[in-house]
């Protein structure tokens, strides 16, 4: 039995390797100083989708992302690793979306894609760490969710069996499709790019990327598999009142750069006398020993 799988992915700034120039003097984020990457847990999710595709030949994996047109980069990356195609959902109307407005827009895009069996996404994105969008999409689509997944074991007879990794241990659950599964980073890493796929999809693009280049445009038009979808709020029939800032119940009241109340730190020189004196002090006041 072949499956229709949608992978939810996000292009995120790499917050894990933040250098000193990542913050501007006024306390805002200097996005230009941070490389944009495929959200790590979404790669874990993609791997689970590709494993299902291996297991159930003829299955189709579609990567869906919301962001600026440049987010097509991660769709291509997904295609290089084995996905069949993808869609970038992009509109100024989505700017300032909180998790609820984001899940509204994405669920509208999922409806537009239509006929799906499983939606798989990373548990959370590293720029927000909220883990909310997956379950909220499930709620908006009125389907079940399985979060904290480590392995999608099978998807037979309309039912998936999923292993979850939670604080207290491991749980194996069974649920009916369609459903949403969010994947932890304890799941296997994503496979690398495939040379053949790289060759095949090298020139895949969203329309706006090739708009100015007639030759490329024509090249892609002749090869539909190279065409990455580019949808906006109107394409997915989104109600603008539920999008972007207007559709976001949470508002950011203030953002502060972090300032710690400095303690008076004692400087210990890195030499034998001072280090030994410190240890002796800590033993004497029963902090250690």
């Amino acid at each position: 039995m072949s499956l229709n799988i949608i992978v939810l992915a996000k292009q995120v700034p790499d917050t894990r390797n933040v250098g000193k120039d990542a913050m501007k003097a006024d306390g805002t984020i200097n996005r230009a100083a941070l490389p944009a990457i495929f959200n790590p847990e979404d790669l874990n999710a993609l791997e689970q989708a590709l494993r299902l595709k291996d297991l159930y030949p003829g299955s189709k994996v579609t990567v869906l992302t919301m962001g600026p047109a440049r987010a097509a980069e991660i769709i291509r990356e997904g295609m290089f690793r084995g996905a069949d195609g993808g869609v970038v959902l992009s509109d100024r109307a989505f700017a300032g979306s909180d998790t609820l407005a984001t899940s509204y827009a994405l669920s509208a895009a999922v409806r537009k894609i239509g006929n799906f069996d499983i939606i798989i996404g990373g548990r959370q994105a590293i720029d927000g760490d909220t883990a909310q969008v997956g379950p909220q999409i499930a709620e908006k689509l009125g389907i079940p969710q399985i979060t904290y997944a480590e392995e999608i074991i099978s998807a037979d007879n309309g039912e998936v069996v999923v292993k979850r990794r939670i604080e207290s241990g491991v749980e194996t659950v069974k649920a009916k499709m369609p459903l949403v599964v969010t994947v932890n980073n304890s799941a296997p890493d994503c496979r690398p790019r495939n040379a053949k796929a790289l060759q095949k999809f090298k020139y895949a693009a969203v329309p706006s990327e090739v708009a100015a280049d007639e030759a490329k445009k024509e090249f892609i038009e002749k090869r539909p598999y190279l065409s990455i979808g580019e949808w906006n709020a109107a394409t997915v029939d989104a109600d603008l009142a539920q999008c972007g800032l207007a559709g976001s119940p949470t508002k950011v009241k203030s953002i502060e750069n972090v300032v710690f109340t400095a303690k008076e730190a004692r400087r210990i020189e890195n030499n034998d006398e001072e280090l030994e004196a410190l240890i002796v002090d800590l033993i004497a006041n029963h902090t250690i020993g």
Binding site: P249, I268, N270
Partner: protein, 342 residues
């Protein structure tokens, strides 16, 4: 007529015990409810809940909504979501808290989506305050300030939900303090009919196997923690950290960067997205001190920072700062501890 506009905490219940994180949230909830002059409520859903009120009421809970049914344990998303969605529609809480656990982070978003109420994940501080909408100029009194580090811990954001109710937030275990107010606190228990709040099709997700693993790591209970960050430089240097920990009888912790680098397991991660600790002594080795890490250890009694960068941000909250190479300093600390301890 249901009592409305109060503060409610979703309490997790397992093996006859209410989760610590829920009791911590009740403690915080009581303080905020006092400030707002409203009641503190709790909702529990599970099985075999016998004397659960004895565990909950001492935290100053005025009303407990109890949903007892064998199908509610172990936790699955749909029935627990339906219970909260329908209960919240009925009692219209002003504020709702749940633990930022695998349960709360599964349940919270689903409930917030159904009610179109804002939810802020992993808050490190919750306060009450006013807010003026910059665009409309509209003023709001006594909103919940949901404060959390964001953007990988490089900034701290204060989030509010001006118009939607309940104002929802999740908080990790150990972030708030747990403190009962009165062992004889008088509160009301309301037993609820589970079938009136759930639908039969909510029970479609079936748990076919559950394997509980006891965590090998006990960071929360350890009086001494030796933690390493990205500045440790290698997995080999982490071994050095383990040696120091073994010598001092300490537990090894790690920053998120060190965990991401594969030098330490996830259950050793300290910080906003890991564990919050308050040990007697915290030795931070090669940890620069992103807010997301600081949020999880700043209440340690004594903090020693070992870092090759004399201007590492963590040094500003440290009691002792040792500037030097890890592979140079740690062996000396081990050596002098062995020499001077009895």
């Amino acid at each position: 007529m249901a009592d409305k506009n109060n503060l409610i905490v979703y309490c997790e219940y397992e093996d006859g015990k209410v989760a610590d994180v829920s009791l911590e949230l009740l403690t915080k909830g009581r303080q905020l409810a006092n400030k707002l002059g409203i009641k503190l409520e709790a909702v529990v859903a599970g099985d075999n809940m016998k004397d659960i009120e004895k565990q909950i009421l001492p935290y100053g809970v005025d009303t407990v909504y109890k949903f007892e049914d064998s199908r509610l344990y172990p936790y699955t998303s749909l029935p627990h979501s339906s219970i909260l969605i329908n209960l919240f529609k009925e009692i219209q809480p002003r504020i709702a808290f749940m633990g930022a656990t695998s349960i709360g982070r599964d349940l919270g978003p689903r409930v917030s989506s159904a009610l179109h109420s804002g939810l802020t994940a992993d808050c490190t501080s919750l306060e009450i305050g006013d807010y003026t909408d910059v665009k409309t100029g509209k003023e709001y009194k006594d909103l919940l300030y949901q404060i959390r580090p964001a953007f990988g811990g490089n900034i701290v954001a204060t989030i509010v939900n001006p118009d939607c109710r309940p104002q929802m937030a999740t908080v990790r275990e150990g972030v708030m303090k747990k403190e009962a107010v009165d062992s004889n606190y008088k509160g009301e228990i309301i037993n609820k009919d589970v079938n009136a709040y759930t639908r039969p099709e909510d029970f479609v997700v079936e748990i076919i196997d559950r394997h509980v693993e006891k965590s090998k790591v006990n960071l929360k209970g350890s009086p001494i923690i030796v933690a390493g960050g990205y500045g440790m430089g290698s997995k080999e240097n982490f071994e050095l950290l383990q040696q120091l920990a073994d010598t001092l009888g300490a537990e090894v912790g790690a920053s998120r960067a060190a965990v991401d680098a594969g030098w330490a397991d996830h259950d050793r991660q300290i910080g906003q997205t890991g564990v919050t600790v308050r040990p007697k002594l915290y030795i931070a080795c090669g940890i620069s001190g992103q807010i997301q890490h600081i949020a999880g250890m700043q209440d340690s009694s004594i903090i020693i920072s070992v870092n090759s960068d004399p201007n590492a941000p963590i040094n500003t909250i440290a009691d002792y700062v040792i500037t030097g190479k890890i592979e140079d300093v740690l062996p000396k600390l081990i050596k002098y501890y062995k020499k001077n301890s009895k």
